[in-house]
Symmetry: C2
Subunit: 380 residues, 2 copies
Amino acid sequence: MSSKKPTVYDVAKEAGVSIASVSRSLRTPESVRPATRKLINRAIDRLGYVPSGSAQSLAARRTGVIGLFMSNLDELDDLQDFTLSSVDDARVEIDPAHHADSHRNDSLYYDQVLRGCELETWRRGLSLMVNLGLDRNEKGLTQLAGEMVGKVDGLIVMARSVPDSTLEFLRRRVPVVMVADAPSDNEAGYDLVRVSNRKGMRKLVQHLVDTHHVDDFAYIAGPDDSPDNHKRYVGFCEGLRSRNINPETVPIYRAGFSFAVAHTITQDMVARHKIPRVMVCANDQMALGVCKALTDGGIRIPQDVIVTGFDGISESETNTPRITTVSQPMRNLGRAAVSTMVQRLENPDAEPYAIELPVTLLLRESSEGELTKEQESTSD
Amino acid sequence: MSSKKPTVYDVAKEAGVSIASVSRSLRTPESVRPATRKLINRAIDRLGYVPSGSAQSLAARRTGVIGLFMSNLDELDDLQDFTLSSVDDARVEIDPAHHADSHRNDSLYYDQVLRGCELETWRRGLSLMVNLGLDRNEKGLTQLAGEMVGKVDGLIVMARSVPDSTLEFLRRRVPVVMVADAPSDNEAGYDLVRVSNRKGMRKLVQHLVDTHHVDDFAYIAGPDDSPDNHKRYVGFCEGLRSRNINPETVPIYRAGFSFAVAHTITQDMVARHKIPRVMVCANDQMALGVCKALTDGGIRIPQDVIVTGFDGISESETNTPRITTVSQPMRNLGRAAVSTMVQRLENPDAEPYAIELPVTLLLRESSEGELTKEQESTSD
DNA sequence: GTGAAAGCGCTAACAC
DNA sequence: GTGTTAGCGCTTTCAC
């Protein structure tokens, strides 16, 4: 197969020029006489030459690679040793229904951000190195991150996928751009790309009040320690206050971002006939749980109860009724992160960048009732 | 911020040893006296030293990075320049219902494979470099791949994401592992990881005949130029023949893997009252289209018509009824690809590996009717 | 066990 | 324009 890999020297010899010309011909073609360039190119593809990335990076002091670090806990379960075996058959399995597992959606979120990074990174002629930084303990994570940081020009880090101390360490070596959130004590220090949770929720509430003239709310909250959850709640309160509704009169139910808990809570409401006019949920999963409990209880959405979610996961769209939600531009989060990184790389001493991407309030049946229906079987 | 990055020399000086000892202490700690090792470690974290990946790779002649190359055409549409702007608001949008876009599922497939690669790559202490190899023309693709190939120890390539000629080029430099399919003329030459399309479909058909005693089939086929489609059809025929049904008596409808086309075709069947007992679809999207048309036409699934799909996309599970399908182990495809690559790297001169992952036949309501339902609100 | 020194393959002054 | 040369930061013989 791949015998000895040809180097600049081989190319230079083959073309009868110096290695400098070869290098120039590749980096700055216009600084080389067309004739020699042709010579060199001929030699290059005669030899099948490809420059060594390592050597280039070492000499040029830049790798052209951006690292993406996000920890994703989903995978831990089935992480047994994977052994290659060419089993020669198809298994059969009865597949009983089960609730959509909540963590699957996390994955979706990450996938989208990753995709955005890939996209933008590619557009700019850079490479992307990905690291999910799985289970490891704090020490392992730090080591993992350390390995990566030696290979990249900059590191994009998903919020809370790495301990703050490690972050500081990484940052001594390369620029770091945070996604979604930065260490609270140092918010001003990191470049940051995030999404306007607060404004999205505020807008949603204002819309509900203005359009549907409702004022009997309940809030289904996520975990107390989630910054997202907190910001959404703040936006919720702002929205209410801006319409002269006192947020303190609105009951909060804590469902920890969980379908099941939200479902139970709502069942209970239904049983007690204690149902608010609007149930604002801090994420889509909970909204789905709420909807199911309501529907099963014979409550109509949105005629009896308006339900809203947050995030814009795909289930919010496939559910019946579809859920009004605040959709996060996940893909663009990734793109923005890369763009920010590129700016930082070009301008190492600039002030910290902090950009906030707008969210989109998607009005759907769970709040608006029947919507315009076009394009039914149009899509041939 | 990140001032001068410390090097081995700095560490050596700080610790009062030679750079060789520093290097050894990192690579083969046991070859260094514990005392000096301690000295060195102290110096290392006093300086915040991180070895340069480029230099390591260059000297060690290996990068520890595996490249993943998959072209994904989904993104082309909205690929306008992305500019950073900190728009300070949330947009509102009426969001009318629309069919699940078919390409979204491709993405899902890629995401899963990618995730599998990431997982396995991480488990083995390697890094993963991803490249979606977007729109470029053939020449651009080749160049893109060329850039990547200089930075990695091996390249995992998704079937048909790169022209065959380029593949040959890449292969001169590093080992290449193909995913899903290899160039037909050279199938024996490439390491290959794939899925048993044929066996899966055969098993499915056999199950249907054996369990439901049906023999009145129709086959909804994908595009003629899809190898997957072809293999599935072959499996379909095999299954029938093994049960003494002549495949030639079974009508084929070509719906090009498209929801919409399958939908139209089925509507037509319904209108003409010309409906088979079983509709075997070459992928899930088409099965979904079929189901919708049948359900809208008042036909019961599976009592009147059994419908089956292929792939195991998430919609096959969220649909009502859930679709019996042959699920591909996408995640494991990625893991297997990385494993194969690692083996190849360790053993450059071994015979080409070709492994085939088993698929899983998931029996669900669209063929079996009511299934055991447990775990309803168990998941607290 | 440890140090000196020779590369790894490239880029970028600096001469010519 | 083109060639010469000195690194880039590390690994790895080879002596000691």
